[in-house]
Protein backbone atom coordinates (compact mmCIF):
# COMPACT_ATOMS: atom_id res chain seq x y z
CA UNK A 1 0.00 0.00 0.00
CA UNK A 2 1.45 3.34 -1.04
CA UNK A 3 1.07 6.48 1.04
CA UNK A 4 -1.75 7.75 -1.12
CA UNK A 5 -3.76 4.63 -0.39
CA UNK A 6 -4.47 5.69 3.19
CA UNK A 7 -8.03 6.88 3.53
CA UNK A 8 -8.46 10.09 5.49
CA UNK A 9 -11.70 11.47 6.93
CA UNK A 10 -11.82 15.19 7.74
CA UNK A 11 -14.56 16.09 10.27
CA UNK A 12 -15.00 19.86 10.29
CA UNK A 13 -18.13 22.03 10.34
CA UNK A 14 -16.13 24.93 8.88
CA UNK A 15 -16.47 24.30 5.16
CA UNK A 16 -13.66 26.62 4.07
CA UNK A 17 -11.15 25.14 6.48
CA UNK A 18 -12.25 21.61 5.56
CA UNK A 19 -11.65 22.45 1.89
CA UNK A 20 -8.18 23.79 2.69
CA UNK A 21 -7.25 20.61 4.54
CA UNK A 22 -8.69 18.43 1.80
CA UNK A 23 -6.73 20.32 -0.87
CA UNK A 24 -3.55 20.00 1.18
CA UNK A 25 -3.98 16.26 1.53
CA UNK A 26 -4.67 15.81 -2.18
CA UNK A 27 -1.61 17.88 -3.09
CA UNK A 28 0.43 15.64 -0.82
CA UNK A 29 -0.76 12.62 -2.76
CA UNK A 30 -3.60 11.32 -0.59
CA UNK A 31 -6.39 10.49 -2.98
CA UNK A 32 -8.90 8.94 -0.62
CA UNK A 33 -10.03 12.00 1.32
CA UNK A 34 -13.61 12.51 2.56
CA UNK A 35 -15.05 15.51 4.37
CA UNK A 36 -17.97 15.30 6.80
CA UNK A 37 -19.59 18.42 8.23
CA UNK A 38 -22.88 17.68 9.93
CA UNK A 39 -23.45 15.97 13.26
CA UNK A 40 -26.15 13.50 12.47
CA UNK A 41 -25.04 10.63 10.35
CA UNK A 42 -21.43 10.87 11.49
CA UNK A 43 -21.41 7.29 12.70
CA UNK A 44 -22.91 5.96 9.47
CA UNK A 45 -20.36 7.94 7.48
CA UNK A 46 -17.48 6.51 9.44
CA UNK A 47 -18.82 2.99 9.10
CA UNK A 48 -19.08 3.38 5.34
CA UNK A 49 -15.75 5.09 4.78
CA UNK A 50 -13.83 3.04 7.34
CA UNK A 51 -10.99 5.59 7.44
CA UNK A 52 -7.41 4.90 8.45
CA UNK A 53 -7.01 8.41 9.82
CA UNK A 54 -9.60 10.85 11.18
CA UNK A 55 -8.77 14.55 11.46
CA UNK A 56 -11.22 16.60 13.58
CA UNK A 57 -11.23 20.22 14.72
CA UNK A 58 -11.28 20.91 18.45
CA UNK A 59 -14.30 23.19 18.17
CA UNK A 60 -16.31 20.22 16.99
CA UNK A 61 -18.96 19.13 19.52
CA UNK A 62 -18.70 15.57 18.23
CA UNK A 63 -15.32 14.62 19.65
CA UNK A 64 -16.89 12.77 22.61
CA UNK A 65 -19.17 10.90 20.24
CA UNK A 66 -16.24 10.06 17.99
CA UNK A 67 -14.13 8.73 20.86
CA UNK A 68 -17.02 6.65 22.16
CA UNK A 69 -17.20 4.91 18.79
CA UNK A 70 -13.67 3.63 19.13
CA UNK A 71 -14.83 1.50 22.05
CA UNK A 72 -17.62 -0.13 20.13
CA UNK A 73 -16.17 -2.93 18.07
CA UNK A 74 -19.43 -3.27 16.17
CA UNK A 75 -19.22 0.33 14.90
CA UNK A 76 -15.60 0.47 13.91
CA UNK A 77 -13.94 -2.68 12.75
CA UNK A 78 -10.44 -1.74 13.78
CA UNK A 79 -9.34 -0.12 17.03
CA UNK A 80 -8.36 3.51 16.78
CA UNK A 81 -5.80 5.28 18.89
CA UNK A 82 -5.29 8.97 19.22
CA UNK A 83 -2.51 10.99 17.68
CA UNK A 84 0.39 9.58 15.78
CA UNK A 85 2.42 8.68 18.79
CA UNK A 86 1.22 9.00 22.37
CA UNK A 87 4.74 9.58 23.58
CA UNK A 88 5.24 12.42 21.10
CA UNK A 89 4.25 15.21 23.50
CA UNK A 90 5.44 17.92 21.09
CA UNK A 91 3.08 16.71 18.35
CA UNK A 92 0.16 16.54 20.74
CA UNK A 93 0.92 20.05 21.96
CA UNK A 94 1.28 21.49 18.47
CA UNK A 95 -2.00 19.89 17.42
CA UNK A 96 -3.97 21.15 20.42
CA UNK A 97 -2.44 24.62 19.99
CA UNK A 98 -3.53 24.63 16.36
CA UNK A 99 -7.02 23.40 17.30
CA UNK A 100 -6.93 20.01 15.64
CA UNK A 101 -6.87 16.42 16.74
CA UNK A 102 -6.23 13.22 14.85
CA UNK A 103 -7.12 9.59 15.39
CA UNK A 104 -5.51 6.69 13.58
CA UNK A 105 -6.25 3.00 13.31
CA UNK A 106 -4.05 0.82 15.41
CA UNK A 107 -1.07 -0.68 13.67
CA UNK A 108 -0.21 2.13 11.29
CA UNK A 109 3.37 3.21 11.66
CA UNK A 110 4.22 6.68 12.88
CA UNK A 111 6.18 7.49 9.72
CA UNK A 112 3.19 6.89 7.48
CA UNK A 113 0.78 9.04 9.43
CA UNK A 114 2.91 11.84 10.83
CA UNK A 115 2.89 13.81 7.54
CA UNK A 116 -0.90 13.91 7.67
CA UNK A 117 -0.94 15.34 11.17
CA UNK A 118 1.84 17.81 10.38
CA UNK A 119 -0.03 18.97 7.28
CA UNK A 120 -3.26 19.38 9.28
CA UNK A 121 -1.44 21.38 11.97
CA UNK A 122 0.19 23.74 9.50
CA UNK A 123 -3.03 24.28 7.52
CA UNK A 124 -5.02 24.88 10.71
CA UNK A 125 -2.45 27.45 11.78
CA UNK A 126 -2.51 29.08 8.36
CA UNK A 127 -6.30 29.22 8.45
CA UNK A 128 -6.28 30.82 11.92
CA UNK A 129 -3.72 33.37 10.72
CA UNK A 130 -5.83 34.12 7.66
CA UNK A 131 -8.96 34.57 9.79
CA UNK A 132 -7.07 36.89 12.12
CA UNK A 133 -5.75 38.96 9.23
CA UNK A 134 -9.21 39.17 7.72
CA UNK A 135 -10.60 40.38 11.04
CA UNK A 136 -7.77 42.94 11.35
CA UNK A 137 -8.50 44.18 7.85
CA UNK A 138 -12.19 44.50 8.69
CA UNK A 139 -11.39 46.37 11.89
CA UNK A 140 -9.07 48.70 10.00
CA UNK A 141 -11.67 49.42 7.38
CA UNK A 142 -14.32 50.10 10.03
CA UNK A 143 -11.84 52.37 11.83
CA UNK A 144 -11.11 54.31 8.67
CA UNK A 145 -14.81 54.84 8.03
CA UNK A 146 -15.23 56.04 11.60
CA UNK A 147 -12.36 58.53 11.19
CA UNK A 148 -13.93 59.87 7.99
CA UNK A 149 -17.24 60.37 9.80
CA UNK A 150 -15.49 62.13 12.69
CA UNK A 151 -13.59 64.38 10.30
CA UNK A 152 -16.85 65.45 8.67
CA UNK A 153 -18.36 66.25 12.05
CA UNK A 154 -15.35 68.39 13.01
CA UNK A 155 -15.22 70.12 9.62
CA UNK A 156 -18.86 71.14 9.91
CA UNK A 157 -18.77 72.10 13.59
CA UNK A 158 -15.52 74.04 13.58
CA UNK A 159 -15.52 75.15 9.96
CA UNK A 160 -12.04 73.70 9.31
CA UNK A 161 -10.65 71.70 6.40
CA UNK A 162 -10.07 67.97 6.28
CA UNK A 163 -6.39 68.10 7.09
CA UNK A 164 -6.95 70.25 10.16
CA UNK A 165 -9.75 67.95 11.31
CA UNK A 166 -7.44 64.97 11.05
CA UNK A 167 -4.63 66.76 12.89
CA UNK A 168 -7.05 67.60 15.70
CA UNK A 169 -8.12 63.97 16.00
CA UNK A 170 -4.51 62.80 15.99
CA UNK A 171 -3.46 65.32 18.62
CA UNK A 172 -6.34 64.37 20.90
CA UNK A 173 -5.50 60.69 20.50
CA UNK A 174 -1.85 61.32 21.36
CA UNK A 175 -2.74 63.42 24.39
CA UNK A 176 -5.11 60.79 25.73
CA UNK A 177 -2.90 57.90 24.71
CA UNK A 178 -5.73 56.32 22.69
CA UNK A 179 -6.18 55.18 19.11
CA UNK A 180 -7.43 57.72 16.56
CA UNK A 181 -10.26 55.34 15.68
CA UNK A 182 -11.36 55.28 19.33
CA UNK A 183 -11.43 59.08 19.52
CA UNK A 184 -13.38 59.12 16.27
CA UNK A 185 -15.82 56.56 17.68
CA UNK A 186 -16.41 58.72 20.80
CA UNK A 187 -17.01 61.76 18.67
CA UNK A 188 -19.47 59.99 16.38
CA UNK A 189 -21.33 58.55 19.38
CA UNK A 190 -21.47 61.95 21.08
CA UNK A 191 -22.72 63.58 17.92
CA UNK A 192 -25.45 60.96 17.57
CA UNK A 193 -26.55 61.56 21.16
CA UNK A 194 -26.66 65.35 20.69
CA UNK A 195 -28.67 65.16 17.49
CA UNK A 196 -31.02 62.42 18.64
CA UNK A 197 -34.35 64.14 19.04
Amino acid sequence: MSVSNLSVLVVDENKIRAAIIEAGLREAGYERVEVVGETFGLIRNIEQISPDVIVIDLENPNRDLLESMFQLSRSVKRPIAMFVDQSDQASIEAAVEAGVSAYIVDGLTKERVKPILDMAISRFNAFARMSRELQDARDELAGRRMIDAAKTILMNAKNIDEEEAYKLLRKTAMNQNRKIADIAQSLVTAEKLMNDK
Binding site: L58, D64, L65, S68, F83, E97
Partner: protein, 406 residues
Protein backbone atom coordinates in the same frame (compact mmCIF):
# COMPACT_ATOMS: atom_id res chain seq x y z
CA UNK B 1 -2.53 37.32 42.44
CA UNK B 2 -1.88 33.82 41.12
CA UNK B 3 -3.33 33.06 37.72
CA UNK B 4 -5.22 29.75 37.56
CA UNK B 5 -6.68 28.51 34.28
CA UNK B 6 -9.83 26.39 34.44
CA UNK B 7 -11.90 24.72 31.75
CA UNK B 8 -15.63 24.12 32.05
CA UNK B 9 -18.55 22.78 30.04
CA UNK B 10 -21.68 24.97 30.01
CA UNK B 11 -23.80 23.07 32.56
CA UNK B 12 -25.52 24.10 35.77
CA UNK B 13 -23.09 22.03 37.83
CA UNK B 14 -20.19 24.26 36.74
CA UNK B 15 -21.78 26.62 39.30
CA UNK B 16 -19.00 26.38 41.92
CA UNK B 17 -16.24 27.45 39.52
CA UNK B 18 -18.34 30.25 38.05
CA UNK B 19 -19.49 31.51 41.46
CA UNK B 20 -15.90 31.39 42.75
CA UNK B 21 -14.95 33.85 40.02
CA UNK B 22 -18.07 36.04 39.87
CA UNK B 23 -18.62 36.33 43.64
CA UNK B 24 -14.91 37.00 44.27
CA UNK B 25 -14.23 33.91 46.42
CA UNK B 26 -11.21 33.20 44.20
CA UNK B 27 -10.02 36.80 44.22
CA UNK B 28 -10.28 36.93 48.02
CA UNK B 29 -7.94 33.92 48.09
CA UNK B 30 -5.43 35.77 45.90
CA UNK B 31 -6.41 33.88 42.76
CA UNK B 32 -7.13 35.28 39.32
CA UNK B 33 -9.40 32.45 38.14
CA UNK B 34 -9.60 32.37 34.34
CA UNK B 35 -12.52 30.34 33.02
CA UNK B 36 -12.53 28.89 29.51
CA UNK B 37 -15.71 27.41 28.10
CA UNK B 38 -15.18 24.19 26.16
CA UNK B 39 -17.40 22.22 23.84
CA UNK B 40 -16.33 18.64 24.59
CA UNK B 41 -14.94 16.66 27.53
CA UNK B 42 -12.22 15.44 25.18
CA UNK B 43 -11.04 19.06 24.82
CA UNK B 44 -11.00 19.52 28.59
CA UNK B 45 -8.84 16.41 28.94
CA UNK B 46 -6.47 17.33 26.08
CA UNK B 47 -6.01 20.92 27.21
CA UNK B 48 -5.16 19.66 30.67
CA UNK B 49 -2.73 17.14 29.16
CA UNK B 50 -0.81 19.85 27.31
CA UNK B 51 -0.89 22.30 30.21
CA UNK B 52 -3.48 24.84 29.00
CA UNK B 53 -5.67 24.13 32.05
CA UNK B 54 -4.49 23.77 35.65
CA UNK B 55 -7.89 22.68 36.91
CA UNK B 56 -11.21 21.79 35.29
CA UNK B 57 -14.87 20.93 35.70
CA UNK B 58 -14.82 17.19 34.99
CA UNK B 59 -17.07 14.17 34.82
CA UNK B 60 -16.27 12.24 38.00
CA UNK B 61 -15.27 9.05 36.11
CA UNK B 62 -12.72 10.92 33.95
CA UNK B 63 -9.84 10.88 36.48
CA UNK B 64 -10.60 7.19 37.12
CA UNK B 65 -10.53 6.40 33.40
CA UNK B 66 -7.27 8.32 32.95
CA UNK B 67 -5.69 6.54 35.94
CA UNK B 68 -6.32 3.07 34.54
CA UNK B 69 -5.12 3.99 31.05
CA UNK B 70 -8.45 4.34 29.21
CA UNK B 71 -7.69 7.85 28.03
CA UNK B 72 -6.50 8.24 24.41
CA UNK B 73 -4.08 10.96 25.55
CA UNK B 74 -1.78 10.21 28.48
CA UNK B 75 -2.62 12.54 31.37
CA UNK B 76 -2.53 12.20 35.13
CA UNK B 77 -5.52 13.77 36.81
CA UNK B 78 -6.41 13.97 40.50
CA UNK B 79 -9.83 14.72 41.95
CA UNK B 80 -9.14 16.46 45.27
CA UNK B 81 -12.69 17.77 45.50
CA UNK B 82 -16.22 17.04 44.26
CA UNK B 83 -18.28 19.84 42.72
CA UNK B 84 -21.58 18.64 44.19
CA UNK B 85 -23.92 15.65 44.35
CA UNK B 86 -26.69 14.77 41.90
CA UNK B 87 -28.02 17.22 39.33
CA UNK B 88 -28.99 14.89 36.46
CA UNK B 89 -32.28 13.44 35.32
CA UNK B 90 -33.69 10.97 32.81
CA UNK B 91 -35.96 12.70 30.31
CA UNK B 92 -38.13 10.93 27.73
CA UNK B 93 -40.14 12.26 24.80
CA UNK B 94 -43.74 13.14 25.62
CA UNK B 95 -44.92 10.33 23.35
CA UNK B 96 -42.74 7.74 25.14
CA UNK B 97 -43.96 9.17 28.46
CA UNK B 98 -47.57 8.53 27.42
CA UNK B 99 -46.74 4.99 26.32
CA UNK B 100 -45.09 4.34 29.69
CA UNK B 101 -48.23 5.59 31.46
CA UNK B 102 -50.18 3.02 29.45
CA UNK B 103 -47.71 0.36 30.62
CA UNK B 104 -47.99 0.90 34.34
CA UNK B 105 -45.97 4.04 35.04
CA UNK B 106 -47.81 6.11 37.66
CA UNK B 107 -46.08 9.49 37.27
CA UNK B 108 -44.31 9.12 40.63
CA UNK B 109 -40.76 9.41 39.25
CA UNK B 110 -40.02 6.22 41.20
CA UNK B 111 -37.16 4.54 39.27
CA UNK B 112 -38.43 1.03 40.02
CA UNK B 113 -41.94 1.69 38.72
CA UNK B 114 -40.71 3.72 35.74
CA UNK B 115 -38.16 1.02 34.87
CA UNK B 116 -40.74 -1.79 35.06
CA UNK B 117 -43.06 0.06 32.70
CA UNK B 118 -40.15 0.62 30.31
CA UNK B 119 -39.28 -3.10 30.43
CA UNK B 120 -42.91 -4.00 29.68
CA UNK B 121 -43.04 -1.54 26.78
CA UNK B 122 -39.76 -2.84 25.32
CA UNK B 123 -41.15 -6.39 25.47
CA UNK B 124 -44.33 -5.35 23.65
CA UNK B 125 -42.37 -3.44 21.03
CA UNK B 126 -40.24 -6.48 20.40
CA UNK B 127 -43.35 -8.65 19.92
CA UNK B 128 -44.47 -6.21 17.25
CA UNK B 129 -41.00 -5.98 15.65
CA UNK B 130 -40.73 -2.26 16.34
CA UNK B 131 -37.24 -0.70 16.23
CA UNK B 132 -35.14 -0.34 19.40
CA UNK B 133 -35.67 2.71 21.58
CA UNK B 134 -32.66 5.04 21.54
CA UNK B 135 -31.37 6.84 24.64
CA UNK B 136 -28.63 9.48 24.71
CA UNK B 137 -25.86 9.99 27.26
CA UNK B 138 -23.03 12.51 27.15
CA UNK B 139 -19.86 10.46 27.41
CA UNK B 140 -18.72 6.84 27.68
CA UNK B 141 -17.04 7.63 31.02
CA UNK B 142 -19.87 9.52 32.69
CA UNK B 143 -22.27 9.10 35.60
CA UNK B 144 -25.01 9.51 33.03
CA UNK B 145 -23.95 6.38 31.22
CA UNK B 146 -23.30 4.28 34.35
CA UNK B 147 -26.42 5.49 36.21
CA UNK B 148 -28.65 4.86 33.20
CA UNK B 149 -27.18 1.40 32.58
CA UNK B 150 -27.39 0.50 36.29
CA UNK B 151 -31.04 1.53 36.42
CA UNK B 152 -31.98 -0.34 33.23
CA UNK B 153 -30.17 -3.51 34.33
CA UNK B 154 -31.79 -3.45 37.76
CA UNK B 155 -35.17 -3.27 36.03
CA UNK B 156 -34.44 -6.30 33.86
CA UNK B 157 -33.48 -4.36 30.73
CA UNK B 158 -30.20 -5.24 29.04
CA UNK B 159 -28.65 -1.84 28.19
CA UNK B 160 -26.56 -3.37 25.40
CA UNK B 161 -29.26 -5.48 23.74
CA UNK B 162 -32.74 -4.24 24.58
CA UNK B 163 -32.19 -0.66 23.46
CA UNK B 164 -29.53 1.58 21.92
CA UNK B 165 -27.47 4.03 23.93
CA UNK B 166 -25.75 6.77 21.92
CA UNK B 167 -23.40 9.62 22.79
CA UNK B 168 -24.46 13.23 22.14
CA UNK B 169 -23.23 16.59 23.45
CA UNK B 170 -25.49 17.77 26.34
CA UNK B 171 -26.83 20.83 24.53
CA UNK B 172 -27.86 18.68 21.51
CA UNK B 173 -30.17 16.46 23.57
CA UNK B 174 -33.38 18.58 23.56
CA UNK B 175 -33.11 19.12 19.82
CA UNK B 176 -32.48 15.44 19.11
CA UNK B 177 -35.46 14.53 21.33
CA UNK B 178 -37.86 16.94 19.66
CA UNK B 179 -36.79 15.76 16.19
CA UNK B 180 -37.31 12.15 17.19
CA UNK B 181 -33.65 11.15 16.68
CA UNK B 182 -33.69 9.79 20.24
CA UNK B 183 -36.48 8.69 22.60
CA UNK B 184 -34.90 9.73 25.88
CA UNK B 185 -31.68 10.76 27.56
CA UNK B 186 -29.80 11.09 30.81
CA UNK B 187 -28.12 14.48 31.08
CA UNK B 188 -27.31 17.30 33.51
CA UNK B 189 -29.26 20.51 33.84
CA UNK B 190 -30.50 22.73 32.29
CA UNK B 191 -31.08 20.23 29.45
CA UNK B 192 -33.89 18.28 31.16
CA UNK B 193 -35.83 21.36 32.17
CA UNK B 194 -35.29 22.77 28.66
CA UNK B 195 -37.17 19.83 27.09
CA UNK B 196 -39.99 19.98 29.65
CA UNK B 197 -40.35 23.73 29.07
CA UNK B 198 -40.51 23.31 25.28
CA UNK B 199 -43.08 20.53 25.61
CA UNK B 200 -40.84 18.00 23.86
CA UNK B 201 -40.12 15.85 26.91
CA UNK B 202 -41.00 14.79 30.44
CA UNK B 203 -38.65 13.97 33.31
CA UNK B 204 -39.08 10.28 34.10
CA UNK B 205 -36.79 10.05 37.11
CA UNK B 206 -33.85 11.86 38.71
CA UNK B 207 -30.31 10.92 39.67
CA UNK B 208 -31.26 11.81 43.27
CA UNK B 209 -33.79 8.94 43.07
CA UNK B 210 -31.56 6.41 41.28
CA UNK B 211 -28.73 6.83 43.77
CA UNK B 212 -29.21 9.31 46.60
CA UNK B 213 -26.32 11.69 47.36
CA UNK B 214 -24.39 10.38 44.39
CA UNK B 215 -21.31 11.86 42.73
CA UNK B 216 -21.44 13.76 39.45
CA UNK B 217 -18.72 16.35 38.67
CA UNK B 218 -15.36 16.74 40.30
CA UNK B 219 -12.60 19.28 40.30
CA UNK B 220 -10.01 17.69 38.03
CA UNK B 221 -6.46 18.85 38.71
CA UNK B 222 -3.45 17.87 36.68
CA UNK B 223 -1.10 15.91 38.90
CA UNK B 224 1.75 18.06 37.67
CA UNK B 225 0.02 21.18 38.96
CA UNK B 226 -1.06 19.59 42.27
CA UNK B 227 2.52 18.52 42.95
CA UNK B 228 4.16 21.79 41.90
CA UNK B 229 1.76 24.19 43.68
CA UNK B 230 0.31 22.53 46.81
CA UNK B 231 -0.28 25.80 48.64
CA UNK B 232 -2.07 27.34 45.66
CA UNK B 233 -4.20 24.21 45.30
CA UNK B 234 -5.24 24.55 48.97
CA UNK B 235 -6.41 28.09 48.27
CA UNK B 236 -8.28 27.01 45.14
CA UNK B 237 -10.14 24.32 47.08
CA UNK B 238 -11.00 26.71 49.94
CA UNK B 239 -12.35 29.31 47.53
CA UNK B 240 -14.48 26.66 45.80
CA UNK B 241 -15.82 25.45 49.16
CA UNK B 242 -16.77 29.04 49.98
CA UNK B 243 -18.48 29.23 46.60
CA UNK B 244 -20.28 25.94 47.38
CA UNK B 245 -21.59 27.37 50.67
CA UNK B 246 -22.82 30.46 48.82
CA UNK B 247 -24.47 28.34 46.10
CA UNK B 248 -26.23 26.22 48.73
CA UNK B 249 -28.04 29.22 50.27
CA UNK B 250 -31.53 29.40 48.76
CA UNK B 251 -31.44 33.19 49.05
CA UNK B 252 -28.71 33.23 46.41
CA UNK B 253 -30.34 30.90 43.89
CA UNK B 254 -31.96 33.62 41.78
CA UNK B 255 -28.68 35.56 41.57
CA UNK B 256 -26.74 32.39 40.77
CA UNK B 257 -29.20 31.53 37.99
CA UNK B 258 -28.72 35.01 36.54
CA UNK B 259 -24.91 34.68 36.64
CA UNK B 260 -24.97 31.23 35.02
CA UNK B 261 -27.34 32.48 32.30
CA UNK B 262 -24.77 34.98 30.95
CA UNK B 263 -23.43 34.67 27.41
CA UNK B 264 -19.94 33.65 28.53
CA UNK B 265 -21.29 30.83 30.73
CA UNK B 266 -24.43 28.81 29.91
CA UNK B 267 -25.92 31.40 27.53
CA UNK B 268 -29.41 30.18 28.40
CA UNK B 269 -32.43 31.73 30.11
CA UNK B 270 -32.17 32.02 33.93
CA UNK B 271 -35.75 30.73 34.15
CA UNK B 272 -34.58 27.37 32.76
CA UNK B 273 -31.51 27.27 35.05
CA UNK B 274 -33.21 28.12 38.36
CA UNK B 275 -35.27 24.91 38.90
CA UNK B 276 -32.21 22.66 39.37
CA UNK B 277 -30.86 25.09 41.98
CA UNK B 278 -34.10 25.53 43.93
CA UNK B 279 -35.25 21.92 43.50
CA UNK B 280 -38.66 23.20 42.38
CA UNK B 281 -38.72 21.38 39.06
CA UNK B 282 -41.44 20.96 36.45
CA UNK B 283 -41.29 17.31 35.38
CA UNK B 284 -44.12 17.52 32.83
CA UNK B 285 -46.38 20.29 31.55
CA UNK B 286 -48.65 19.73 34.57
CA UNK B 287 -46.49 18.26 37.34
CA UNK B 288 -43.94 19.95 39.61
CA UNK B 289 -41.79 18.41 42.30
CA UNK B 290 -39.95 19.94 45.24
CA UNK B 291 -36.71 17.99 45.56
CA UNK B 292 -34.14 19.67 47.78
CA UNK B 293 -31.76 16.75 47.11
CA UNK B 294 -31.82 17.21 43.34
CA UNK B 295 -28.48 19.05 43.21
CA UNK B 296 -26.51 19.39 46.46
CA UNK B 297 -23.64 21.87 46.28
CA UNK B 298 -22.31 21.81 49.86
CA UNK B 299 -24.34 19.89 52.44
CA UNK B 300 -23.77 16.21 53.25
CA UNK B 301 -20.07 16.52 52.50
CA UNK B 302 -20.96 17.18 48.86
CA UNK B 303 -17.42 18.41 48.16
CA UNK B 304 -15.64 15.40 49.66
CA UNK B 305 -14.05 13.09 47.05
CA UNK B 306 -15.06 9.67 48.39
CA UNK B 307 -12.81 6.86 47.22
CA UNK B 308 -15.88 4.60 47.31
CA UNK B 309 -17.31 6.78 44.52
CA UNK B 310 -14.18 6.34 42.40
CA UNK B 311 -14.34 2.59 42.99
CA UNK B 312 -18.02 2.37 42.09
CA UNK B 313 -17.20 3.96 38.73
CA UNK B 314 -14.39 1.49 38.26
CA UNK B 315 -16.76 -1.39 39.04
CA UNK B 316 -19.12 -0.12 36.33
CA UNK B 317 -16.26 0.27 33.83
CA UNK B 318 -15.52 -3.42 34.36
CA UNK B 319 -19.20 -4.30 34.23
CA UNK B 320 -19.67 -2.59 30.86
CA UNK B 321 -16.53 -4.13 29.40
CA UNK B 322 -14.49 -0.90 29.21
CA UNK B 323 -11.85 -2.10 31.67
CA UNK B 324 -10.55 -5.36 33.01
CA UNK B 325 -10.52 -6.27 36.68
CA UNK B 326 -7.21 -6.47 38.52
CA UNK B 327 -5.97 -5.38 41.94
CA UNK B 328 -3.59 -2.79 40.39
CA UNK B 329 -6.51 -1.08 38.68
CA UNK B 330 -8.46 -1.04 41.96
CA UNK B 331 -5.56 0.80 43.57
CA UNK B 332 -5.08 3.22 40.68
CA UNK B 333 -8.81 3.99 40.52
CA UNK B 334 -9.03 4.66 44.26
CA UNK B 335 -5.92 6.84 44.23
CA UNK B 336 -7.33 9.12 41.51
CA UNK B 337 -9.66 10.60 44.15
CA UNK B 338 -7.60 12.45 46.75
CA UNK B 339 -9.53 12.96 50.02
CA UNK B 340 -6.26 13.71 51.84
CA UNK B 341 -5.70 16.77 49.63
CA UNK B 342 -9.23 17.98 50.41
CA UNK B 343 -8.68 17.55 54.15
CA UNK B 344 -5.35 19.36 54.01
CA UNK B 345 -6.86 22.28 52.09
CA UNK B 346 -9.85 22.89 54.38
CA UNK B 347 -8.07 22.17 57.68
CA UNK B 348 -8.23 25.87 58.60
CA UNK B 349 -11.90 26.24 57.65
CA UNK B 350 -14.81 25.82 60.03
CA UNK B 351 -16.38 22.96 58.14
CA UNK B 352 -17.00 19.33 59.03
CA UNK B 353 -15.02 16.78 57.04
CA UNK B 354 -15.52 13.00 57.06
CA UNK B 355 -12.84 11.09 58.94
CA UNK B 356 -13.00 8.07 56.58
CA UNK B 357 -11.94 7.97 52.92
CA UNK B 358 -14.57 5.45 51.86
CA UNK B 359 -18.03 4.41 52.91
CA UNK B 360 -20.39 1.56 52.12
CA UNK B 361 -22.64 3.16 49.51
CA UNK B 362 -26.27 2.59 50.38
CA UNK B 363 -25.69 1.87 54.07
CA UNK B 364 -27.27 5.14 55.20
CA UNK B 365 -31.03 4.91 54.79
CA UNK B 366 -31.70 8.32 56.37
CA UNK B 367 -29.59 11.42 56.96
CA UNK B 368 -27.23 10.34 59.71
CA UNK B 369 -25.07 12.42 62.03
CA UNK B 370 -21.47 11.31 62.10
CA UNK B 371 -18.58 12.65 64.11
CA UNK B 372 -16.11 14.68 62.13
CA UNK B 373 -13.53 16.17 64.43
CA UNK B 374 -15.12 18.82 66.59
CA UNK B 375 -18.10 19.19 64.28
CA UNK B 376 -21.13 17.10 63.49
CA UNK B 377 -21.69 16.16 59.89
CA UNK B 378 -24.86 14.81 58.33
CA UNK B 379 -24.31 12.21 55.64
CA UNK B 380 -26.76 10.36 53.41
CA UNK B 381 -29.19 8.96 52.70
CA UNK B 382 -26.92 7.45 50.06
CA UNK B 383 -28.83 4.41 48.82
CA UNK B 384 -29.30 2.94 45.35
CA UNK B 385 -32.96 2.65 44.39
CA UNK B 386 -32.81 -1.16 44.32
CA UNK B 387 -31.45 -1.36 47.87
CA UNK B 388 -28.21 -3.11 46.84
CA UNK B 389 -25.16 -2.02 48.85
CA UNK B 390 -21.74 -1.28 47.40
CA UNK B 391 -18.96 -2.16 49.80
CA UNK B 392 -15.68 -0.96 48.21
CA UNK B 393 -13.78 -3.58 50.19
CA UNK B 394 -15.79 -6.28 48.40
CA UNK B 395 -15.60 -4.81 44.92
CA UNK B 396 -14.73 -8.11 43.24
CA UNK B 397 -17.81 -9.83 44.69
CA UNK B 398 -19.91 -6.84 43.70
CA UNK B 399 -18.76 -6.99 40.09
CA UNK B 400 -19.31 -10.75 39.99
CA UNK B 401 -22.85 -10.36 41.33
CA UNK B 402 -23.60 -7.93 38.49
CA UNK B 403 -22.33 -10.15 35.70
CA UNK B 404 -25.13 -11.40 33.48
CA UNK B 405 -26.35 -14.82 34.54
CA UNK B 406 -26.38 -17.54 31.92
Amino acid sequence: MDKVRAGFIPLTDAALLIAAREKSFAKDAGINLELAREISWANIRDRMAVGHFDIAHMLAPMPVAAAIGLSPVPVEILAPMALGLGGNAVTVSTSLHELLRENGYDGSLDPGIAGKSLARLIGRRRDRNLPDLIFGVVHPYSSHSYDLRYWLSACGIDPEKDLQIVILPPSFMPDALSRGNIDGYCVGEPWNTASVASGAGAILTTKSRLWQSSPEKVLGVSKRFATAYPELLDRIICSLVNAAIWCADSENHAELAEILSRTEYLDHSAKIILPALSGNIATTGEQRIQDSDFFITFNRAANFPWRSHALWYYSQMVRSGQASFCPENVELAAASFAPDLFRRAVSQMEIAVPAANSKVEGALITATAVGAGKNILYLGPDGFFDGVLFDPDKIEEYIRSQSPRE
